[in-house]
């Protein structure tokens, strides 16, 4: 692939890197895994970049490849380095108006989402990104009805997980 393509890709990726970060946030429990998964996503995206025609949005194309990487291709962290708790390191700077109660709620929610399996996390990600059920079903390769039913079950599951842990 020529240098221009590389520059173009890196430019797009730099601009839209939060798509990958957000997926990593759901799938990685610490910063090292986040970095490692992020890197694998970048490699996978670069490999399939020739198939990106530009007629779809870069973010739509990128999130599908990134989700596939997290669910099907990523093997796990290659090496164990001293880990930093993801929520503590980043959650504090998420909101301009810092609210400790709100932060605690979000931390509990993220904790519960991370306990879901990989497929459920993918559904949650697409739900949070406001993807419609047609897109969700196409991305995962399941029927639209099943995607909808599963999403409702996840909501119930999350509620019970949070209640089991003493609520917010």
């Amino acid at each position: 692939m020529n240098k221009n393509k590389e520059i173009e890709f890196v430019g797009l990726l730099e601009q839209h890197q939060n798509v990958l970060h957000k997926i990593c946030k759901l799938y990685a429990s610490d910063l090292d895994t986040h970095k490692d998964l992020f890197q694998e996503m970048v490699i996978q995206l670069w490999r399939s970049y020739p198939t990106f025609k530009g007629d779809s949005k870069f973010t739509t194309w990128a999130y599908r490849v990134a989700l596939n990487t997290a669910i099907s291709l990523y093997r796990g962290k290659k090496r164990k380095i001293t880990t930093v708790d993801w929520d503590n390191s980043l959650q504090n700077i998420c909101y301009e108006e810092y609210d400790p109660a709100q932060e605690e709620k979000l931390k509990t929610l993220y904790g519960a989402v991370r306990q879901l399996n990989d497929i459920e996390k993918a559904l949650v990600y697409m739900y949070l990104e406001d993807k419609d059920y047609t897109e969700i079903s196409e991305t995962l390769g399941i029927s639209e009805v099943n995607a909808r039913v599963k999403m409702n079950r996840i909501k119930t599951k999350l509620k019970s997980m949070i209640n089991q842990n003493g609520g917010y």
Partner: protein
């Protein structure tokens, strides 16, 4: 407001991630992947090389009987035709793996390569077992033509049958152990995600 809706409220505004610079991203492009596909590719290549090497370097005995000479030739032709078929199949399945497919298709395409590897090893073990069987028949025929005593013949027959059966069980055990350990560990996550997708479809339909 349920949990997810609360999360959603903040999700889109969450831009607090460490910004990775262009030069760092560029460096990442050229790093080596550690994906499951790369591992499967490497393992399959090793499997192909190991079995072909074994088949080339095992010394072949020159047979006295025309029948066994012909059987050897047929065996070799069939053996290498299958090896060629498996390599071709491996290549075509490998290029079908696309990270832009939907998740279910992607997992299925990876598992198809695994199944091909599974069949390749199974074929090699069956071929080795068949070769062992042919050797055993040849030994009996030799004993018979050398006019060995009945005692010797029965001894060879009983010992050969016991070894033949034991090797059969050993091959089956090795085959199961190999796949359980190697591919079982490697594809644990992939298998459970695929099961989840299938369960999801089965539960509702």
């Amino acid at each position: 407001m349920d949990g997810l809706d609360l999360l959603k409220q903040h999700w889109k505004d969450n831009n607090s991630f460490p910004k990775i610079q262009k030069n760092e991203l560029q460096a990442m492009l050229h790093k080596s992947s550690s994906s499951i596909v790369k591992w499967i590719f490497t393992i399959c290549c090793v499997e192909f090389i190991v079995w072909i090497t074994i088949s080339i370097f095992i010394p072949a005995e020159r047979e006295d009987f025309l029948f066994f000479q012909v059987a050897d030739v047929i065996y070799n032709v069939v053996f290498y035709a299958f090896i060629f078929f498996f390599i071709y199949q491996f290549y075509t399945l490998l290029i079908r793996i696309k990270n832009t497919s939907n998740t279910r298709k992607l997992i299925e395409s990876i598992l198809a390569v695994r199944t091909n590897a599974h069949n390749y090893i199974r074929f090699n073990l069956i071929a080795a077992y068949a070769a062992f069987g042919i050797q055993f028949i040849q030994l009996i025929v030799k004993e018979y033509t050398h006019r060995s005593s009945w005692g010797e013949m029965i001894f060879v027959l009983v010992l050969g049958s016991i070894l033949f059966t034991l090797f059969g069980f050993l091959f089956i055990w090795l085959f199961k152990l190999y796949f359980k350990i190697l591919y079982g560990i490697l594809l644990k996550k992939l298998n459970s995600n695929y099961d989840e997708l299938i369960r999801l479809e089965e539960n509702e339909t």
